[in-house]
Assembly symmetry: C2
């Protein structure tokens, strides 16, 4: 099989940022990416990483292209389900470069993410999809995914966070003694 998947290493950071920008372009937000290589290196490749990343390489095996080329990536981290009392796997980004689409690379990445969920004992694998991305919606449904359309995603940023934070009562201390 010409697709191989590996865990990203620190040296992949420039590539990861390229994939992030490629996905933002697809999502019609090409200017939304302000992340830098230094950010990703600091947050993903230290002793307590905030995220994990898989890289898919594709070996085209044509006469003018020998050896494998990076074709796509999956970017994930762990969330937590209070109902199940288990960490869940949250897939933040899944992206395959346009020239490598239709080769099963996206499905291979998603399957590898599912295998990691099994390995880590995660009862849930979650992600988001843009409502106009019908091919993706249909693909996910065909794999048995369900859509939690009763839940609305809420976000607060910048000034709104600062205004609210200014009203925080502050934290009081409590000793561990009651345990």
């Amino acid at each position: 099989m010409p697709t191989t998947i590996r865990k990203a290493v620190a040296g992949d950071v420039p590539l990861i940022l390229e994939f992030i920008r490629g996905l933002a372009l697809f999502e019609r937000e090409p200017d939304a990416v302000t992340a830098t290589e230094a950010d990703l290196l600091r947050d993903g490749f230290g002793p307590e990483p905030y995220f994990h990343c898989l890289i898919a390489d594709y070996d085209a095996r044509t006469s003018d292209q020998t050896g494998s080329q990076p074709a796509g990536f999956a970017f994930y981290f762990f969330n937590y389900s209070t109902w199940t009392g288990r960490p869940g796997l949250y897939l933040e980004d899944l992206f395959v470069n346009p020239e490598f689409r239709g080769l099963g690379i996206g499905k291979a990445l998603l399957a590898q993410v599912a295998a990691i969920a099994v390995e880590k004992g995660c009862p849930r694998l979650q992600w988001e999809v843009l409502d106009w991305n019908t091919p993706a919606v249909d693909f996910y449904a065909s794999l048995g995914a369900v859509f939690l359309d009763e839940w609305r995603n809420v976000r607060m940023t910048g000034e709104a966070i600062a205004r609210l934070a200014a009203q925080a009562p502050g934290l009081t201390e409590k000793a561990e003694a009651q345990f």
Copy 2:
């Protein structure tokens, strides 16, 4: 102010589970909680916790109830934004016991969570709300939160994860040498 907020300690695990069950009841899923005290203790209070928790205590200061009582909680963890290159704060649960509602305790908890987002350098604070919970939707909007309704939440569980995982190509190794 009769409301104080503190970080949860291991001894709060039974209380946290009560709050989780109270919220599930409100969300019309009273039987959905399978988490145990052992789960929460293992995953939230070890050296690398999957989640963090704030407890709000309310001091009613009536003649028959002196001292403070636990009134509500906020349960959160950190996700990651590939666009901003920063961790975000994800609020999984926010709950105030029915007998303590209308006292500003929910807002105090949310404000404290916002203060933690500021402290940790998180440019985003995110959570979800059920679409029929109009009072909560209006409250969040009044605080300047926005609703990302273009995004659909997708979830895979149990057998679907296992079926997909069985198709994973496996991980290949790559040396760090290229860095």
